[in-house]
């Protein structure tokens, strides 16, 4: 029995979500190998080889992997799949995009978003926006899994010394072409890996106010910034800041919700945070039902005051 973890990387380094996925893979028992499919990705393969618990890194390098297209990465995984009992992806935009292609080609069911490994074929996963937890058992020979990173601690990024094996790249043709991307550059921690998140809701009222009120608090705390769906839909914050059932699932040490009422879809994305602070002027806001510390106040006054007090 052995597991293959598909690394998420930027060709230079390994993204944090991969570390949590490796922990889940180790819990399935057996060896854990990591696939790094990229372009000029030797540095990422090196980084993967240092992760504690990894026994082998498979490095496929080719132009077709430059943008992590699902068709290409899935073809590479399929070329390796017969050697593994478990194939695991992080449940990120990238992992969710690729994993089902692999499962369908192998004619196996996929288990999405696992939060706990009960045994090598039995897992817990949240359903209905986390309002219920299903315990599910796979019946297929190969298990294709996506891992909710908040359910597992990250493996140590150093301490391992796995061998790196170069493998010949697969090529899935050119039905899909990468045309470009707009990736926001900032120095903040990644939302899903941040220790502190400051999140804003519809109450902010405009993108200017969102930036003016939320940014200083995030800066002060070295926090990532998040948003409710309502704030994203209204254009106050970028799409990829959305925390919730269908956005990012986060579990930081501290989550500060400013002007977020707390729809069940939003709570689904952050209720596993260690400490939750809610600042809202509506005493009936559902966010207070999950908050460790609730401050009933106008956020436009309370947040700047908080910045000054820190």
């Amino acid at each position: 029995m052995s597991a293959l973890v598909i690394a998420e990387h930027d060709n230079h380094g390994i993204k944090p979500a991969t570390l949590n996925t490796i922990t889940a893979a180790l819990a399935c028992g057996g060896d854990v190998h990591v696939l790094v499919a990229g372009k000029d990705a030797s540095a990422a393969a090196q980084a993967a080889s240092h992760i504690a618990g990894v026994s082998k890194v498979l490095h496929a390098d080719a132009d077709v992997f430059a943008h992590g297209l699902a068709e290409q990465v899935a073809a590479q995984v399929l070329a390796l799949a017969s050697s593994y009992s478990h194939i695991l992806f992080a449940a990120t935009a990238s992992g969710k995009n690729i994993a089902p292609r692999v499962a369908a080609k192998l004619d196996v069911g996929q288990i999405s978003d696992i939060t706990k490994v009960e045994s090598p074929d039995t897992f817990e996963r949240p359903i209905y926006a986390g309002n219920a937890i299903a315990t599910v058992q796979a019946t297929d020979a190969t298990l294709v899994i996506t891992v909710r990173t908040t359910g597992f601690d990250p493996a140590a990024a150093t301490g391992g010394s796995a061998a790196i094996e170069s493998i010949s790249p697969a090529n899935a043709g050119s039905q899909s072409q990468f045309m470009g991307s707009e990736i926001a550059k900032n120095d903040r921690p990644e939302l899903t890996a941040a220790k502190i998140i400051v999140s804003g809701g519809r109450a902010l009222g405009s993108s200017e106010k969102f930036a003016e009120v939320i940014t200083p608090l995030a800066d002060k705390l070295g926090a990532a910034m998040g948003a409710s769906r309502a704030a994203v839909d209204a254009g106050y914050a970028p799409n990829d800041w959305q925390v919730g059932q269908t956005g990012k699932i986060v579990a930081p040490q501290l989550y500060i919700a400013c002007g977020i009422s707390g729809a069940i879809q939003h709570l689904a994305g952050m209720k596993d945070s260690k400490v939750i602070v809610a600042i809202n002027k509506d005493p009936e806001a559902p966010i207070f039902s999950v908050a460790d510390y609730g401050l009933e106040a106008d956020l436009f006054l309370a947040v700047p005051e908080l910045v000054a007090a820190l």
Binding site: L69, A70, K105, Q175, N239, G294
Partner: protein
């Protein structure tokens, strides 16, 4: 060019489901059911592409119990031309649905298949990608913008960190994210019109698909409850609690 749009009947997004006391599942008796919100966006997008002249026909498909006909009628009220129900009372998992859609795609030969990125009941986020793999088609998941140009689809996708744009050869699979469009309100005349539109019913066997579940649900339980904490009087009290009690800053 035809488009196939898949729609799922799910518990309405406003309903907070309850786990059954015998842990066999969630209680959906007498609960309001609606079209999966992402699928509504998929129907809207297909209808808009038809209105812009890129599509000749929009066919909506639902797989599940007889009541899915209501979901299909809603999709036809938004503007889909006809509906197909693959009727079964058995549990359908994403791989089975992808196989049913593949069989229908073989029959109907669409240039595009548009689906919601995930259903809000099982939260799987699999069916579109699985269909694309089974059909050997390219895919663009989590779409926030779709344009058609010289026999290709140009799709902007929501990815971690921002957006990316892919150019797909057709036929292709697109799954929708929240910001793709805002579905129109259905009007009474369109609801009446939808009642007269063609709706065909198949069984999985008619399509030659083995739809048996691959994953067994052993139990469904309540998530650990998070109890409400305390209200603090002011910012100073909050800072004090965070520093000295929670010790997180």
């Amino acid at each position: 060019m035809k488009a196939l749009v898949a729609v799922k009947r799910v518990v309405d997004y406003n309903v907070k489901v309850r786990v059954k006391s015998d842990q066999s599942g969630v209680d959906i008796a007498n609960v309001k059911m609606s079209m999966n919100p992402f699928d509504e966006i998929a129907v809207e997008e297909a209808v808009r592409l038809k209105e812009k002249g890129f599509l000749s026909e929009v066919i909506v498909v639902s797989c599940g119990v007889a009541q899915c006909q209501e979901t299909l009628r809603t999709a036809m009220a938004i503007g889909a031309d006809r509906g197909i129900l693959v009727e079964t009372t058995e549990e359908l998992q994403p791989l089975a649905v992808a196989k049913l859609l593949k069989a229908l795609a073989d029959k109907e030969q669409p240039g595009l298949v548009i689906l919601g990125k995930q259903a809000i009941d099982d939260d799987c986020n699999q069916t579109g990608q699985m269909l694309a793999a089974l059909a050997n088609w390219p895919q663009a998941t989590f779409a926030s913008k779709v344009e058609m140009a010289d026999g290709h689809a140009l799709v902007t996708r929501e990815v971690d960190g921002g957006l990316e744009t892919l150019k797909l050869t057709l036929p292709a699979v697109i799954t929708t994210d929240l910001r793709l469009n805002e579905p129109r309100y259905v009007t009474l005349p369109n609801i009446m019109k939808a009642k007269k539109k063609q709706l065909d019913i198949f069984k999985p066997e008619d399509l030659g698909v083995d739809a048996k579940p691959r994953i067994k649900t052993l139990k469904v339980s309540e998530p650990p409850k998070r109890s409400a904490g305390i209200k603090v009087a002011d910012v100073a009290a909050l800072v004090d609690k965070l520093k000295n009690e929670a010790k997180v800053i």
